[in-house]
Amino acid sequence: MGTKSPVLRGQDVDAKCSGCQVGHFCLAAGSDSETLEQLDELLVVDECIESGAHVARRGDAFRGVLAVRRGCFKSYRIDREGREQVRRFHFPGELIGLDAVSRGIYQDSTVALQDSATCAIDYQQLLNLSQCAKGLQQQLFRLFSGQLAEAQLHAGEFTAEERIAAFVCNISERLAARGHDAEQFELAMSRNDIGNHLGLATETVSRVFSRLRSAGVLNVRRKHITILDRLALFQLAEAVTDH
């Protein structure tokens, strides 16, 4: 198991849901103040997760879900041939560990792609709390189904352009929902991770970004994306998102 560095407990109110920048999009969304206080009691914050550190490993016993406070994570599996398969990316306000809910062990390994922070919460306690708090229950459901929606990005018969466009739209929407700039953002993942996630060769990812740049749809510099023609991007992505 990776780093378990300094942890903030109960008394530090700022570090919890009420003071959190992504609280509005995370578990706390739609909860009343009473539920919020109870959530605060249950959360254990880890502010110092270094880029490259694992927060879950496939096969380990489920210890509870993690909500991303800051940074970005990648969940992946290693297949029988030893190849990595990138399952999904986790942004602030999203949950890590839902893959472990049904069997009690992690199906995916999850690693930080940049310096990040999380809130850990015991899953059983979270469920207990949600049974008497309708707002929390609904939000949990939304967070679950959001992850299912992301899964369809790499299923189905789509062109490389359509997949990349849908991927960029998906990230843009997730960041926008958290109050970030929807038009320009820095990706934490490498082109290798993106290709792997979308079932495309690494060089195809770069070729498609190159084409989208030449066509004036995106501006791309290092790992920074600026959406120049949102309509064109949507039209490409539509094939995947309508699926």
Partner: protein, 460 residues
């Protein structure tokens, strides 16, 4: 990490080939080392691979051996006949290539290779072939017609046969060093070469369809006169190479031991050199050459001229080059690698270089990361040197602070240039004028000085 102090960036840039011709690559670099080593190099390579659209790659290969000493030369080189030393060096070079190439994603294409001397051909065609084979084995070579494989040739020893053989190795660009054709100048710098040999090489390069042929000459050499320079320049113009480089000779005997063999009293006076430079520039323009800047002239059908039209010009170790934004990987003693804002250099002396390769340190002897202020200044300088203009739109694609604010902060340093009509400034651009192009050194110095200003440094 210690920050670079005062205006050392652009001078550093020159050392590294970021923004000015660094032909006098000597020992000064060590002052700029910020302690980046092989670990930092690996990180920079990984980040480069992870870019959504990775930069194209250029390779610089240092082959620093010569058969005899030219007194004016400021390069790092070894005059030797020791075949074993040269062979051991090439072994290290090939190992360095294999190991560095492991850090490069295989879909990244190499479309530039630069063989730099010393005198690369002194090692022999067979050795060059071996190095080229190692490059082809270690890297993915671009199949594009824009491929640019360059070599420096010594017109005293190279023959038309060599030119043809090099072409078969994939070489398609060459630079011939002809400091001066006047026999009295040649004698004082210990470099005698004939007009016949030179013209036969230029002819041979045409027959074998080289894309780019450059003659590089010097102004201000010992015994050089305005008259002898004019004869040379007119003759070079008649030969009609794609590019002509007319650079000032820098007499710095304290740094370059060989230059101590040149008696100071044989050097022309500074005023004479200024006049020579002016006359040379005028005659080359009359002969139909365009001045890119810093004494680099090019014809309007050349690779560089086209690159400039396309906004695709950048400054490299050897002056202007096509392919803006390329990452350069250096191999061999003293070689420089440039990856975005990070610069790395191999140890300068042969022994330390070969030891570093043996130790598995990838020949990373020193390295720096440019800070934000340095990046901004070098960005503007690079655009002005290459395109003659830095546009707000180009700026905004790279930096967060507004162009206006940056230019405003620079004003105390560039207002003199504007008053003198060398630079024009408006809300959307900084533009170099024709007279500014003739004094680019001064323009660069102004930006360099701005780097010691707290207002400029602290802009965010």
């Amino acid at each position: 990490m210690e920050q670079l102090k005062d205006g050392s960036l652009l001078r550093l840039g020159r050392q590294f080939g970021v923004s000015s011709p660094p032909l006098g690559v000597s020992g000064e670099f060590e002052h700029f080392d910020l302690g980046l080593r092989v670990g930092a190099f690996r990180n920079a390579m990984r980040e480069a691979n992870e870019q959504l659209i990775p930069a194209r790659l250029g390779l610089t290969v240092q082959l620093p051996f010569c058969s005899s000493l030219c007194y004016h030369c400021a390069r790092m080189k070894k005059v030797t006949r020791n075949a074993r030393l040269m062979s051991t060096y090439v072994d290290a070079l090939c190992r360095e290539m294999r190991e560095k190439s492991e850090l490069v994603d295989q879909d990244r294409l190499v479309d530039q290779v630069w063989f730099v001397g010393g005198s690369p051909l002194y090692l022999g065609n067979a050795v060059l072939g071996r190095v080229m084979a190692q490059i082809a084995e270690s890297f993915s070579i671009s199949g594009s017609t824009r491929r640019y494989f360059f070599i420096e040739l010594d017109a005293r020893t190279a023959t038309p046969q060599h030119v043809a053989q090099l072409s078969m190795l994939g070489i398609n660009a060459l630079r011939l060093w002809v400091p001066a054709m006047s026999p009295s100048v040649q004698k004082t710098i210990n470099r005698q070469q004939s007009t016949e040999a030179l013209s036969s090489l230029v002819m041979a390069s045409r027959r074998t369809s080289y894309r780019d042929v450059t003659l590089a000459t010097r102004i201000g050499l010992p015994m050089q006169s305005l008259e002898s320079l004019v004869v040379d320049v007119d003759w070079f113009g008649d030969l009609g190479p794609d590019n002509l480089i007319v650079e000032r000779y820098q007499h710095r005997p304290g740094l370059n031991a060989a230059q101590r063999l040149i008696p100071r009293n044989l050097l022309p006076e500074v005023e004479r050199v200024d006049e020579m430079e002016q006359v040379a520039y005028e005659r080359l323009e009359l002969a139909g050459y365009h001045h890119l800047g810093l004494g680099h002239f090019t014809r309007d059908d050349s690779v560089l001229y086209k690159a400039r039209q396309e906004g695709n010009l950048q400054r490299g170790l050897l002056g202007y080059m096509a392919g803006a934004g390329a990452h350069m990987l250096g191999f061999g003693a003293g070689a420089v690698s440039r990856l975005e804002d990070r610069l790395f250099r191999a140890p300068n002396d042969l022994e330390s270089y070969m030891r570093s390769v043996d130790d598995g340190d990838l020949a990373i002897g020193s390295g720096v990361a440019l800070d934000r202020a340095q990046l901004r200044a070098s960005f503007v300088v690079e655009r002005i040197l290459c395109d003659g203009i830095c546009r707000e739109a180009d700026w905004s694609a790279c930096f967060d602070i507004s162009f206006d604010r940056y230019v405003e902060a620079l004003m105390p340093y560039i207002d003199r240039l504007i008053l003198d009509g060398k630079l024009k400034s408006d809300a959307r651009s900084l533009t170099l004028t024709a007279s500014g192009r003739k004094s680019l050194d001064e323009v660069v110095d102004c930006f360099e000085r701005s780097l010691s200003d707290d207002t400029v440094l602290s802009l965010h």
